[in-house]
């Protein structure tokens, strides 16, 4: 059904999609880049910082995009990234 959808759906405010919070433990990162590469929402990019191991750890571009799939947590070889669900009761 080729429908041009331009309106904000009427129930857009009711349909809650979980919002994630991305936590980085920068000094553990060894710069493999898996999290940046595999994030389906492109939340991360390489930063200019230098961590204790002398590499550039990732940086969050836009946390709002995070859909809390948790793949970064699963894929990180160094347990350097994890996500938690944001408490949106007071609005996000």
């Amino acid at each position: 059904m080729p429908v041009k959808t331009w309106r904000k759906p009427l129930d857009a405010d009711k349909v809650k999609s979980p919002k994630g919070e991305v936590h980085l433990i920068k000094d553990r990162c060894k710069g493999c880049g898996y999290c940046i590469e595999y994030c389906p929402k492109d939340v991360l990019e390489e930063s200019n910082e230098i961590n204790a191991r002398g590499i550039h750890p990732p940086r969050v571009i836009d946390e709002k995009r995070c859909a809390l799939c948790g793949f970064c947590t699963a894929i990180c070889p160094d347990f350097a990234i994890f996500t938690t669900e944001k408490n949106c009761e007071g609005g996000c």
Partner: protein, 805 residues
């Protein structure tokens, strides 16, 4: 039939009978039929020539049969209407009198003569004489042919799972045939599933449709293929081979539609089924009554790309373990005998009409959005709310003919919008009786059973009908109320009305991807873009291609009742074919003369049907008759005259050219028109009485690809002023792509003409479809101006040059 052939006197003695039909005054009003018959009687081999009022009547046919027996006629020519109309009638009459039906020839002196030259009686009579001369010349060379019988696969394919497709599939399946129903969306149901109520009875749309949908889902004879596309249709009537791409749903049939997965899914998008007014997840079902009810994953939206599963929330949520990201697309090959095209229609996009402010003003909605809003299962649970503030408006205005009956949209009437609006206005009155309702219209077309009553009821309920569409809709920026400004053409006064909501009654238009279906099933489209039927009155559900039928809005805008009626008709027509179990194929196929063939394989390269194979060890080609569809492009390509087309042989066509150019060749246009498009277009010009110059002589070939360069050269060598080669548009060719060869050949001829110093404008190439009578007429007018500029020297030069060439 072979017995019949042996009964007739053989070649040595040709006995041709010619019948010139008056067709009442349709022909006789313009053409002097007596004169034409007199001329015919002087032509070689003609033993009798008669003119009569109606040749196609029973008496007319009896006369022909009687003459065949009494005068031992072995060729019959009828000069009357188009062979596309009555050739089968006269062929049958010939057969009944023991004459092979391929020994019959027609001269089209109605559509191609009397109707298009209404005011030039003498010239029309001369043209009719020429057309008879050409037909007699061809008839003298006709051969008896035997038709091949092919079995019909007793399975059907239905394209499109809207109400038309559903009805057609159910009817055929109930008759006992296996049916494949292919739908590109995740669920069947189509447009009807989106509607709230139906007019004029105010039935709940999904309530009457859903049982039919589930019937389809569980019918043992129906193979339901949703989320699927047709990739390829090959073959011919009774024997189609169809490739269907079945895209994966990523959810197995065990799905219980519990919705747990959708709740878990973290990504959302607007739901297309609710016209974007509600939200769906990446894993979803478009609506509650969907068939199949199995959920589907939208991989464009899903976080999981290709082979990487990054998000497993739905997998974890699904108790029955039905989610499988490893599903792959499947290509199915189906053998079917008949195809029903019920692909439906799109709706007009009113954003194009800037003055109505759709997409700029939130409270301007379309009638389709209205259906979802008023529907109890819709995004607002049946409350007609203003998208700007979610409040129920106290006044609404309907604007009719949005995108219909206007130069800025589509020219045609969309057929359903008037009644739909009346139904909608009554729905509002039913729920919120105090709502003020204005309907701005051009005409109210309440033409069907029960329609006028509904219209009366709406007026009685207090719906205000105002003649004159608003010129502009203006929004109050603060509260998003809308002002409508226009002229009431009945009261001749300007109105300026404030309403809370505007509903645009949008029209129906052809599917954007109609072209794909058109190409796959070799269909034609009208200038409006809808698929064309074989005959607008007498074969309204047959497509021009044998074995293909049309139903629903794909053919023209229509309401549910008409769609269902047409679908049942299409199913019946397809059933008739399949019940017979076999079909005879016209004996117009190519024939190899092996002695002339030197194995150059030029023919094999141009054959669109791969019907020519090469036998390398013998340096010869072989023709597969069953695969040959009869375009004749091989014959046109062969440099050694090793391939003849049955019923359209070189000799027959050359004889027609010679007869056409016998008198006053230097004033004449010889036109080669393909049977399916250009010739049909010329017929259409006739039916529509489009007038064009009388000096054109149309020769019918099955495909423009049949037109060999030597035919064009012969016409010029005989002194013709101009030649027209006309065929189907690219993509419309009845023989897949044979018309590409036409273009190549004409281009080669143009080059040759330039080299010889001839005016290449004298050879014209045109693509004209069956509905473009106007295009044909104007093309002939255009060539006429070229004819005027061709002088004696030019003609003489081309005579010599082409003879030498």
């Amino acid at each position: 039939m072979s017995e019949n052939i042996s009964q007739i006197p053989q070649k040595d003695e040709l006995r041709i009978g010619v019948y010139v039909c008056h067709c009442g005054l349709n022909i006789a009003g313009t053409v002097d039929c007596k004169q034409v018959a007199d001329l015919a009687s002087t032509l070689p081999h003609v033993v009798l020539a008669k003119d009569n009022r109606y040749s196609c009547s029973d008496q007319g046919q009896e006369l022909i049969k009687k003459d065949i027996r009494e005068h031992k006629l072995n060729r019959v020519v009828v000069a009357s209407c188009s062979p596309r109309l009555h050739e089968p009638t006269f062929r049958r009459a010939c057969e009944e009198a023991g004459l092979n039906k391929y020994l019959f020839e027609m001269a089209n002196i109605r559509e191609h003569c009397s109707w298009v030259h209404l005011y030039e009686k003498e010239a029309a009579t001369e043209k009719a004489k020429d057309l008879v001369r050409m037909a007699v010349a061809k008839a003298a060379l006709l051969e008896p042919e035997e038709e091949m019988t092919v079995p019909i696969t007793q399975k059907a394919l239905v394209l499109g799972g809207g109400v038309a497709g559903i009805q057609a599939a159910l009817d055929l399946a109930d008759t006992g045939y296996k049916v494949y129903l292919v739908e590109k969306d995740p669920s069947i149901g189509g447009r009807m599933a989106q509607l709230d109520k139906t007019f004029p009875t105010m039935d709940c749309s999904i309530c009457i449709l859903a049982p039919k949908m589930s019937d389809v889902g569980r019918h043992p004879n129906i193979g339901l293929l949703t989320n699927s596309d047709v990739l390829e249709v090959k073959g011919y009537i009774g024997n189609f081979k169809v490739k269907v791409l079945k895209k994966p749903r990523y959810v197995t049939k065990d799905c219980s539609a519990c919705n747990d997965c959708a709740i878990a899914c973290p990504v959302t998008a607007p739901n297309e089924f609710d016209v974007g007014l509600s939200t769906r997840h990446a894993i979803y079902t478009p609506f509650a009554q969907a068939v199949p009810s199995t959920y589907i994953i939208d991989r464009d939206l899903c976080l999981n790309k290709e082979n990487i599963i990054v998000c497993d929330k739905c997998i974890k949520a699904c108790e029955r373990k039905t989610i499988d990201f490893n599903m792959k697309p499947e290509t199915l090959e189906l053998d079917v005998g008949t195809i029903i095209v019920a692909t439906g229609a799109d709706v007009y996009d009113p954003a194009k009409l800037v003055n109505y402010g759709y997409t700029r003003y939130p409270n301007v909605i379309t009638s389709l959005e209205f259906e979802r809003l008023i529907n109890a299962g819709g995004p607002s649970s049946g409350r007609l709310i203003r998208p700007s503030d979610m409040q129920i408006p106290d006044s609404v205005a309907f604007i009719q003919c949005v995108g219909s009956r206007s130069e800025s949209g589509n020219l045609y009437c969309s057929n359903v919008c008037c009644m739909n609006t009346i139904k909608d206005s009554l729905l509002i009155k039913e729920h919120w009786p105090d709502t003020k309702i204005y309907v701005y219209y051009v005409d109210i077309r309440a033409f069907g059973k029960g329609f006028e009553d509904l219209y009366k009821r709406a007026r009685k309920e207090g719906v205000l009908f105002v003649r004159g569409l608003p010129t502009e809709v203006v929004e109050n920026k603060k509260n998003h109320d809308l002002w409508l400004v226009g002229e009431n053409t009945l009261l001749r006064e300007v109105y300026k009305t404030k309403v809370g909501m505007v509903i645009l009654s949008i029209g129906i238009q052809p599917r954007q991807d109609s072209e794909v279906i058109q190409r796959l099933c070799t269909l034609s489209r009208t200038p409006d873009g809808f698929f064309m039927e074989a005959h607008p009155k007498l074969r309204p559900v047959d497509a021009p291609t044998g074995g293909v039928f049309l139903a629903g809005c794909a053919e023209s805008p229509k309401d549910i009742k008409d769609s269902v009626t047409q679908a049942s008709a299409a199913a019946a027509r397809a059933g008739i074919l399949m019940a017979k179990g076999k079909v005879t194929v016209e004996a117009i196929t190519s024939k190899l003369i092996p002695d002339y063939c030197n194995g150059c394989q030029m023919c094999a390269k141009v054959c669109p049907f791969n019907a020519i194979t090469v036998v390398p060890e013998r340096r010869k080609v072989e023709l597969i008759e069953a695969a040959c569809s009869g375009c004749g492009t091989c014959s046109a390509e062969c440099p050694f005259n090793a391939i003849t087309m049955r019923h359209f042989t070189d000799a027959q066509l050359l004889a027609q050219i010679d007869a056409a150019t016998e008198l006053d060749a230097d004033k004449k246009i010889v036109a080669f028109c393909c049977n399916w498009c250009a010739y049909a277009g010329a017929d259409f010009a006739g039916v529509s009485r489009m007038q064009y110059p009388t000096n054109v002589r149309i020769i019918r070939t099955m495909c423009s690809g049949r037109v060999a360069p030597k035919f064009v050269e012969r016409a010029f060598a005989r002194g013709a002023a101009a030649v027209l080669v006309a065929g189907c548009h690219f993509g419309d060719c009845h023989y897949i792509n044979a018309n590409y060869q036409t273009q190549k050949r004409v281009e080669r001829l143009w080059k040759k003409m330039e080299r010889l110093g001839l005016d290449k404008n004298r050879l014209q190439l045109a693509w004209i479809n069956a509905s473009e009578g106007e295009r044909l007429a104007s093309k002939i007018k255009e060539i006429q101006s070229i004819v005027g500029s061709v002088n004696f020297e030019e003609i003489e030069k081309s005579k010599k040059m082409t003879e030498r060439g």
